[in-house]
Symmetry: D3
Subunit: 325 residues, 6 copies
């Protein structure tokens, strides 16, 4: 296997194709311009400065560009950086794709697809299963490629599917304990709840919000998709089954201030909201702990009210778990 | 013209067909049952007690029933009430309809329809005008019949159209002052913003929320209607024009806690929200002041944070204005 | 098996020993006194009025008394009530105990004890296992007898243990999915988190808060118990293991306004809080739905922000589940 | 007409008298001092650095100074800046005044004065009209010269009068639609509501809060002015008319947290608050949109809860409107 | 000394002149009207029912009337009540005054006046002392007669002066400990802070808010008084001393939501706010504890966030303290 | 007496042993590293830059190091700084201790100890006096050495005792005015309330939170200490006296969001909370005012909701008061 960006050690030179994840033009006090660049590939990210830049360079080496970099890994103030020897933009016909330069979820896409399909088989209600299958098919490519968010959690390639799958596993445990739960409705809700993100976000690399994401949002976007699908499938637009499913996705943020137009009013909607929130929290906390030394606290985690979490000195379970980002 | 309920004076007897707007079974301390009934017709409401009731009577004379009442208007503790001589349920074949017994908005439906249509002519954008005309036609009967709410404001027959029209008049004044406003978008937003109430509410009489009203809400319900209409009309589902219109209706409550999944992000969406809120406030305050003596404060108005409003001693403008409810 | 209070039908007469769960002295408009009594045994509760009461009767038949009632079940305004023929207080030597007259959790105490012990075996850390075993033994009788609360959720005999056990089952599912979790710490936290309620509450019948419950609260009460136990067991009072366990119980309400002096700062503390909250919510929602007709909404559930929950028309899973209260 | 600061193009040299709107002393990494200066005249602002400064220079070229600058306009990182050749402070006897160097409201002061006076004529109540005329006369010069705020909105010369006038126009539209409104009271409230800013702020150039502005605030400052005027005019200090007018100005911020000691308790006070808030919002949003490219979002607008607003791709109305700042 | 209302025992008959503190017309289930009356004199309050009332009786025996009652004290459900034999309205020429029938503060008015005057002597600043003396003289009668509030705390005759004096004592202790405090300013603030209540409230008996109280409020009312006094005294209206004093009274509620238009921005203003709040809290808590049995909790105290306070079993200090209400 | 850091004037050279209170590695634009150092001794702090640093230097001259500095005091942009000639780390055997380099409270430790002991003598209840004496003895050294906080207030050596003593003085004044207060309980609460800070903080120099401070907090830490002491002293663990004392310390932050697991439910607990908060506020405001010029506002004080406080032009009392930090 080819060496990737993070496989190089201090002092080693390399020639790699990388994505510019972020590019900012700055100037020194004596008015020289330079670019602060964040390079990434699927192994992670390192920063580097491009000195004596021109305004032209800033336009050429912009955020989201794919470049071939000839350089060296160095240590600077305890953090790695790249000393750039030369750099050129890779052309569209050279066969590279942005999504190659993004970190991926810790499980393989075909495996996730297969396991999610097993849950689909357990959705017994005909309205819900037809809509779930229709939309899974319609958005298949994006659904298994997109992240679940821009930065907070599961912001990796395949993160949307990984988040969905992890929630389905939680849902199974809870439905086993609480037999009063409608398992079909809960599974259908898990699968669809964030699928609107394929319309809300621009994709897995250099992820941004689309105008529809900003002005409609993924809760209503998937609700619209459900209605349009129901019309295509000639389902009864006024049926209670359809209403329950719409309510699941529309209420899953659980609080008005997070953009839910309605609060959960079904036992299964309440569970969907809680599983969603729990899975995101576990991901964000784990990710922060994995970047923290034992016996110390993480940086404040913004998605968790700015709390810092403590990594105990004796911490075997976390040690043995796979790295998220 | 026939005398209606509020046309009778103390001591006068009558024989009238009325709606039971509210019916509650209570019992005296010595365990006799009686019904507390709120009677109404299009002139207003009066309360009356039906003594020595049975459980059967409670089922017969339930909320929403139409009854013929033989009785007398009395004064009791400073408030009018009905002394019931006899009462019978009116059959479905006697030609009465619930909506006859409800108060109506202070302007005539044909007049409102005509004036609203004038505003439709000023919507110049082809996407918006086609959707507005399509939905106005689809929901024509309900739109001019329904109230704008269950109780807070414009809770009268035709209240939805009256609220819409009053907002359009405000919108015109503001668009004249602020020339930077897209008048077409603002008018289209005014007309559609509350149209989802035809799906959220059960109708003008004995108004309740539908399950879809409770679990989806009129903001998303009209958004769904816009999308389904666009599909029927074969409009581009991804166009910016369609997005702007959806954003107008989805953000018009202006705050997350009032069920807007998105906050206004267009100048016109901000104005739509403010006009909506202002028109509702003016209605609620005016209605309360009209039931308050000069030189005193109203009861706390719940929709206005429980504030009491003062009716000045010298108050000609209010005196001369038409009565709302 | 003997017939209990709820086993009688309308019109049937009975002679039963019952607990007075609540007693209130009221007076009729013509100044006659009467007692409004809530009777209960382990099958449930029915209300009845004791007419022509004296102040002496009010003192005799007070909340928490055990009485022998000779009476008849009647229907009144659609709800059952007891017509009292005669009633006498049962003496302390007649062998009755308050806790007999309280509803019990839906699982048997020996079964729950056995299953909880299985989880104790999976706590591998020596500090945590010693403290858990010490306190489970010290409070054994109360822990399996007390409710988990005064009224909100699990307000039944054995409710504390049932809530604990249900949480352990949820914890197992989550620890299986999230391998980074320290399973021992999470289980120890689940078992101890609400054990302070044996000091906070007065017991399973006519449950009230103790002064220590009001002025210290069960979070700090169990923390104090842990420290005193550690001193008794001659454990290191400054060890990190002890600190982590204290943090688990002190932070488990998850929000300052619910009385947590600290917010969760461990991944396991975050999970403990969420499992606790989730199990209480599922219980409260399920209990409300079980008292609601299909196709309608529950009364507002206070512990869930006053939300009403909808019971779908087709609701097999809930139909088939055991009744909670 | 003379060329002003923003009339020069890149590379052009000039000799202009300008105001230093902001001056900050900084130092380079090798400990050389320099001044970062914001220059302005009535055409707008440009930034420039004054290199090799001394502490003496910092004192000389301080915020609010008027200077003659000999320099050249340059392009730097996509934004204009001034390269300073030489600079000297203009003496007090050279006939310059700070207010010359400030941007002005988009309407002419005499026009605004004339239009406002037309509204004064419609105030029919003798108490209100006398106080309005007295205070308009007393503060005439400042009222038509001051901005309406330090930075949020209408922060231009004449902004206070422009904001007042724009509100009067809105008020007229609303009073036409809602005939129950006391037009005299509403107009009087519009004219006086922000007049206290002539005491709260230091003036149109380099605007700061006065101690009285910080410690009393413009709502109470104008209320005090009304009382002192009433005493001077020998009006009845206890009349209801005077009370209503005081309530209008004291409640116009509409929320306690914005410094209103009382919430609106008059229909007209409610409208005054809403018109004030609406006019400020329209100004701030329009100003932000005018600095934003089509098809993109503005920067977060702090006065609007940090929301970003979208400027549609097709945006004729905004294009054709006059520029605010 | 004459026996007062609370000096009579159960079963004793009396003939007394009393105030009707509250009068409400109710009706029995069989539609007989009766009045529920709260009688009071300076010893306290007892309730009584006036049976078979007419609408005329309700108008005659209204809230705030002075009546001669011939009746008997009885015990009813553990609480005293009056059985009314006969009752007549006392004429204006019979020499009674409402304020005779109100409870008084626990210290004598002349004593309080003398002690407050000692504090006035310690106000050394000429502006503050002249205004304090002017307003103390202008409002002398009301200031020592009015309560400090309608119901929350110090709602007794002379309560305003008692609250003021108690705060001055606290202020002295704090100024002794914190020598950085401007004692003159703090004392002047204490004396004036609530003096606006003489305009906000109707008086010591049957206390209501005036329209000016509702629409301007006592903070701004005293600020206006200070300005008018300054004008009368020909003081400099723009002096910093005057500004500091105005800020003291305007900010003394300490929070916007309690109607302070400005938050404290002086050390002395911060202290004034805290002393005011503390004295009110001590009064309300003490009053509630004095009506509570040892070893139990008070009813929720609304002014203290609805908290219940505990009265310890061993509670000598409270036992020995004077009763407040 | 030896000259200390702040005793030197601009241009004077010195050779002093100082603590590095804060050390940060930065780099110039041309990639040279330097250290920004905050030096302190008991007279205060001055900043200095260490140029041409290496990563090794950063490790050597880290936060909390004691160093001998040969340098010169200079003026730079109006603020003092140190020009460093040479610098070396002082060895552990040279007899210096971190706490020598920290500012101290403005009163002497022996004086404070003596005065606090006088208050201890006034605690008459045997349970409270035994626990107070036991814990004062156990933590004697730390209690008179530690600060009361990391930065907000009393962040000086001996600050904890100074804060405690100042509160006792306030408590005395209030207990004199309010005779209903249990003086013993209030004094015991004052002395113990913050004693948990000896476990929460690391000490007087370079103060940090301990893990127990972060995860348990000083309220519960002192509660645990009280319980362990009671066990050692063989006091009744269930006594009401013990419960009252625990409640005092557990509720003293007065609000849930400040980490109180219970809100004050005793009159004395309410007073303790208010005295604590008041003393901290007076300290923080005074400290800020002492660093502010007359006639201007302080920087926003974070602990006081970000308010700025005004220092009046005529401000004798503050002038004459001792400097806090």
């Amino acid at each position: 296997m080819l060496k990737r960006l993070l496989d190089y050690n201090d002092g080693e030179e390399f020639d790699l194709v990388l994505m510019i994840k972020n590019s900012q033009l700055r100037h020194t006090k004596n008015d020289k311009l330079f670019l602060v660049l964040q390079f990434s590939d699927s192994s992670g990210e390192i920063r580097g400065n491009f000195w004596d830049a021109t305004n032209q360079d800033a336009a050429t080496f912009s955020t989201g560009s794919i470049v071939e970099v000839n350089g060296k890994r160095e240590e600077y103030q305890g953090r790695p950086q790249i000393k750039i020897y030369s750099m050129r933009v890779v052309g569209p016909d050279e066969g590279y794709d942005l999504s190659q330069f993004v970190k991926s979820a810790p499980e393989k896409i075909p495996d996730m697809k297969e396991e999610i399909n097993k849950y689909v088989f357990e959705i017994l209600n005909p309205t819900w299963t037809r809509i779930v299958r229709y939309l899974l098919k319609k958005w298949d490519k994006c659904f298994f490629d997109y992240p679940a968010g821009k930065s907070n959690h599961h912001a990796v390639r395949g993160g949307l599917a990984f988040h969905t799958l992890s929630m389905l596993r939680d849902a199974k445990g809870l439905a086993d304990n609480y037999t009063q739960v409608n398992r079909s409705l809960l599974y259908a809700g898990c699968i669809l709840h964030d699928m609107g993100k394929v319309l809300e976000l621009t994709g897995p690399a250099a992820t941004q919000y689309t105008p529809a994401g900003n002005m409609v949002g993924h809760l209503v976007l998937i609700d619209e998709q459900i209605m349009l699908a129901a019309q295509e499938l000639k389902l009864d637009l006024d049926s209670e089954d359809l209403l329950l499913l719409r309510h699941m996705v529309l209420s899953h943020h659980g609080k008005f201030e997070y953009g839910s137009p309605k609060l959960p009013q079904l036992l299964e909607a309440e569970l969907l909201h809680r599983i969603d929130d729990l899975d995101a929290a576990v991901y964000a906390i784990t990710n922060a702990l994995q970047h923290t030394e034992k016996g110390t606290f993480t940086e404040p985690i913004m998605s968790q009210d700015g709390r810092r979490f403590y990594r105990p000195k004796d911490d075997q379970a976390l040690d043995n778990s796979r790295h998220l980002e």
